[in-house]
Subunit: 375 residues, 2 copies
């Protein structure tokens, strides 16, 4: 390579570029001395000032360091290393409750081992806020992003956030969300399968009148409901709209709607369900009091199954059987995938992992009691 005076590109910039490639192609090692200023002057036929300007910028950018009286040396850092902040962004709709603290812990454990730290963002389930948080995180020069979309009614693929992510060069891994595009990575629980297994578990226990309590403004909630419908169909159990109880959650993780819906189910009298599948543990546990007030015992009179396998589920007076949400594992897998992407700048192989949920069997499910079977 030679320096061309005719080019509109300044000589010192040409020299910088030449040297950077030189470091890479000649396999410069950390601390290896580079040619002296005088050598470079002669080799490229430029003035010492020009050489110094080039070396000065390379030093500022962290590629080399200089020692007066000794020489200039390669720092061992590549283009990517220099801009590395060892920070990854984690943007979720909630941070303080539900499954999120444990997801975050899974991520942090993986990150800590690699000297990375997490920068938190909290979209509070609002797409506009998600966009704002994303901007804030990018200002912090994160090396990668783990995102659980805020949701909303809109398809994530059509959202402003998604369009913004497409323009980024840093890798992104989605959590708890399935995206029908080949060039994205995600780690998600199979919510449909989870709903199906929960319902099938109740069916296997002998139940035929099974209700579902879920929110209709929450994608995973709707998917779990879909699984409920699928399980009924697969077992040729007639779907009854009176047992289909959809509520709305104004803010994330608000299970306040559940007790009222449960009450409606119990008020059906003899037509009431013998088992209820709640879309999450919080909704199920909030309904314990309602069921007790109606004079019914769990699980003798009515079986319940939740979703998420939260700490509260195991601490309840009747420990709640629940579909296991592998929170920590999802965080861990997502972080490992992200670091894989960060480290392999070139051939990024996208991972799309869908985890099949299992069931944590506890004491809230039993076979339907005799007097109900008679009916």
């Amino acid at each position: 390579m030679r320096i061309d005076a005719d080019k509109p590109i300044p000589k010192y910039l040409q020299l910088k570029d030449i040297l950077r490639h030189y470091f890479k192609n000649e396999h410069y090692e950390l601390g290896q001395q580079i040619p002296t200023e005088n050598d470079l002057m002669q080799q490229f036929q430029v003035s010492r000032n020009t050489v110094r300007q080039a070396l000065g910028e390379l030093e500022n950018e962290g590629f080399i360091y200089k020692k007066r009286g000794s020489g200039s040396f390669f720092s061992g850092k590549t283009q990517e290393d220099v801009n590395q902040t060892y920070l990854i962004g984690v943007l979720t709709p909630i941070i303080a409750s539900y499954i999120y603290p444990q997801i975050i812990e899974g991520i942090d454990d993986v990150a800590h081992k690699r000297r990375y730290n997490i920068v938190l963002g909290n979209s509070k389930g609002l797409p506009e806020k998600e966009l704002l948080c994303l901007e804030h995180l990018l200002d912090k020069k994160i090396d990668g992003l783990l995102l659980e979309p805020a949701g909303g009614i809109q398809k994530i693929e059509d959202s402003k956030t998604f369009r913004m992510l497409k323009t980024l060069t840093i890798p992104v891994v989605f959590m708890d969300w399935v995206i029908n595009q080949p060039d994205v990575s995600y780690i998600s629980l199979d919510d449909v399968e989870g709903g199906m297994r929960a319902t099938s578990y109740l069916i296997d226990a002998g139940h035929k009148r099974i209700a579902c309590v879920y929110p209709n403004d929450h994608i995973p909630g709707l998917q779990r409901y879909q699984g409920y419908r699928k399980a009924l169909e697969a077992n040729r159990i007639k779907y009854e709209s009176t047992l289909d109880k959809a509520g709305t959650i104004l803010r994330w993780n608000d299970a306040d709607y559940a007790p009222a819906l449960t009450k409606e189910l119990l008020d059906l009298g003899e037509a009431r369900p013998t088992a209820i599948f709640f879309f999450n543990d919080a909704a199920a546990l909030r309904s314990y009091a309602t069921i007790r007030e109606a004079g019914l015992k769990i699980p003798e009179d009515i079986s319940l199954i939740g979703f998420d396998d939260s700490e509260m589920a195991s601490l309840a007076d009747v420990p709640l059987t629940s579909v296991v949400h592998p929170k920590y594992q999802i965080g861990k897998l997502a972080a490992e995938t992200l670091f894989d992407h960060i480290e392999s700048k070139e051939n990024r192989v996208h991972r799309q992992i869908i985890i099949n949920p299992t069931i944590a069997m506890r004491n809230s499910v039993a076979s339907p009691s005799a007097h109900l079977k008679v009916f």
Copy 2:
């Protein structure tokens, strides 16, 4: 100010310093033009190269920006602004459970409004790990630190971490910890007062045989126990060592020791306590099953009071009366104090806030039942 050729300090560095002070003292505004290179050459009797070297570095450091053909302009940034990352470190012994997610949320809500983001650190209650996390966080150039010490047996003031913090220039605010030094800020709950109020609440309900279940390797736990002893003394109730049940928590938030200690209390037969003060909600809730197995009813046969006012406490079948730990509030106050320190680089007025806890009254405390009063 003049540039002195005799000084061992290079002229361009002298010029940089002069200009920086100039910006400050002459009240330069954002975008205001600074003297041209030619002006500076003449004013300070140096060559254009020297001027350019000084201005070049000032530009690199973010103090000025240049426009070819137009001039050089003050960026409006001060020494501190330039190094600002808009990141604050949050280092706690746990991140995924107990009071911490909500503390973190309180911090994040305050930080978000000021365009700041949280960088998480998780010491897992280990002083060595705390030190390591601190190093990692400092590598990320955080503007401030919120710390809940990992604890351990050693006094925090004598720890390596504390010595390291003393050498820092960034502000630090401690959470949930009282430090007997004038030049530190902290926001803490008064754990002694909390223990005292919990015990007094039981005494006021008519209890005289009150047990305390707590860990003896956890500072806040010991302080709550201290409050228990103080309340007994203040009410002239004789302390009985059989009702004093200390356990050890191997890892943070491990309440597994509690049921066994509760069992020992119940096995005292007629000498058993009529009320138990548990050092936290998790310990109390874990013991519900043990109490039920012994054939006792809460609160008719035995009253319980917890500490922390966690979500689980209100969801329990017998909602647990508990001392309120203002988690979110502590996070919020700590963050506000930290930003106060960050913004007032000079006169930092240290805040030492100790919050008096209140009690969330629920259903787990009643007056001692008649047949026990007879005894």
